[in-house]
Amino acid sequence: MRYLKGMFLVIVLWYLIGALVSSPIIPLPDKVLSYLLLHADEHRMGHHLLTSLYRILGGLSIGLLLGTTGGLLIGRTRALDAVISPVLYLLYPLPKIAFLPVFMVLFGIGDLSKMMLIATIVFFPAAVSVRDGVQHIAPQYLLLARAYHLSARQTFSDIVWPAVLPSLFSSIRITLGISLSVLFINESYAASHGLGYAIMNSWIMAQYTAMYAGIVILSLLGLTLYSVTDLIEKQVTHTDH
């Protein structure tokens, strides 16, 4: 419901700006909607959407897997924290998109270089937030684990992992938006598939309605990914046993 209200507000604003500017560069929402319903297939929008979804899920999975594992190791090992954390802080603020050419050379111009760039962006906030989550676990929970003779596996699954999940989901939410933006830029260069390519190609061809259709699909993809993240978080942060 709250999403519908937000979408309604965006559409009203879009109409207002479109009416004020009155130029083909801003087609009105109904025109874009009718394009999406009737002509999206002509520009293979479904294919571009699936390509972008594949790249973003691949990048997120690699980044989260490496970031979470790294964060857990750093958080649980003081010596590693002392060595790795300064490196993380040094590399974290670098604009990863600047390394796009390096990624293209290393991983080619296919899907892998795009996934690896997203993975690199996701890795840092995931590693830092999971590390912080581990280090901020209430000491009384770890004392409880010792007092009640929990094995290392039980301590991890019953205490450490549930305690870091909220931090991990926060980092996913923060990086989702950035990942989509980076994917857009990434797909604008040396690509022939994906929403970024579809949007930029439509712009070059002066097909503004198709361009806006691509932008709408990209926004809806972001909204869907955020909603799915919220849903998964609700499912996994409370357990019955």
């Binding site: 004392l143 003779h149 019953d158 305690a163 942060t237 046993h241």
Partner: protein, 231 residues
């Protein structure tokens, strides 16, 4: 059942307590009183193997799994429901026993509630069930009722006392309340950082009307006076 010989616990250069010796028989309930910082909690942690001894020995004639501690804070995990908290680290075969214990402490309708949905008294009842489901032979209680109001406190005192006396569980209770120490303990000791300064017996412990007996009042007075001397 439990023999402590000349035990000492240090935190770096600071000694929490020293020269502590105590023998506890099976099924006995020991209450420990003492001013703040005299090492009561450190003693319980040492018995539970959560702290190492600097010197001395603690001989528990039971497996480590059968020595269970209940903390001052309930320490319930917010991401687990009541049943999940009680079964923490235990196999599913304990489920029936966990449900029985939760029914016994009046939480049969809250099995699937999360800790944040419970009152302070309910949370401590869950923590009690979590300690008891492990079938302890030695139960260590670190001021578990300190945060509760008087009424809740008395109800839980009765629950704990009835259970440990019925099941002959050797119990060591650390408390700041002289009344609680006198009511719960078959033996009450006063502890200082240098060891035990006083011991008193409570032969009326199993009397169901103990709360209203003059003897309890007399015991309280005696302990109050002894405790004042340690300050």
């Amino acid at each position: 059942m439990l023999a402590i010989q000349d035990a000492q616990v240090d935190y770096g250069s600071h000694t929490a307590f020293s020269h502590f010796s105590l023998s506890v028989h099976v099924g006995e309930t020991i209450s420990i009183l003492g001013k703040s910082g005299c090492g009561k909690t450190s003693l319980l942690y040492a018995i539970a193997s959560l702290l190492p001894l600097a010197s001395g020995t603690i001989d528990r004639s039971v497996e480590a799994d059968h020595c269970t501690i209940m903390f001052q804070q309930d320490n319930l995990l917010p991401w687990k429901n009541v049943l999940g908290n009680v079964l923490l680290g235990l196999p599913a075969t304990y489920r029936d026993e966990a449900e029985k214990l939760l029914e016994r402490v009046g939480l049969q309708d809250q099995l699937h509630h999360f800790p944040q949905q419970l009152s302070g008294g309910m949370r401590q009842r869950v923590a009690l069930a979590r300690a008891l489901v492990r079938r302890p032979q030695i139960l260590l209680l670190d001021e578990p009722l300190a945060a509760l109001d008087e009424q809740q406190r008395e109800l839980l005192q009765d629950d704990i006392k009835t259970y440990v006396r019925t099941h002959q569980i050797t119990t060591i209770l650390v408390t700041h309340s002289i009344r609680e120490a006198a009511y719960m303990g078959s033996r009450i000791i006063i502890m200082t950082p240098g060891g035990i300064t006083c011991q008193a017996e409570n032969p009326w412990i199993d009397d169901p009307d103990l709360r209203t007996r003059d003897e309890l009042f007399g015991l309280e007075q005696q302990l109050r006076s002894e405790l004042r001397d340690t300050l």
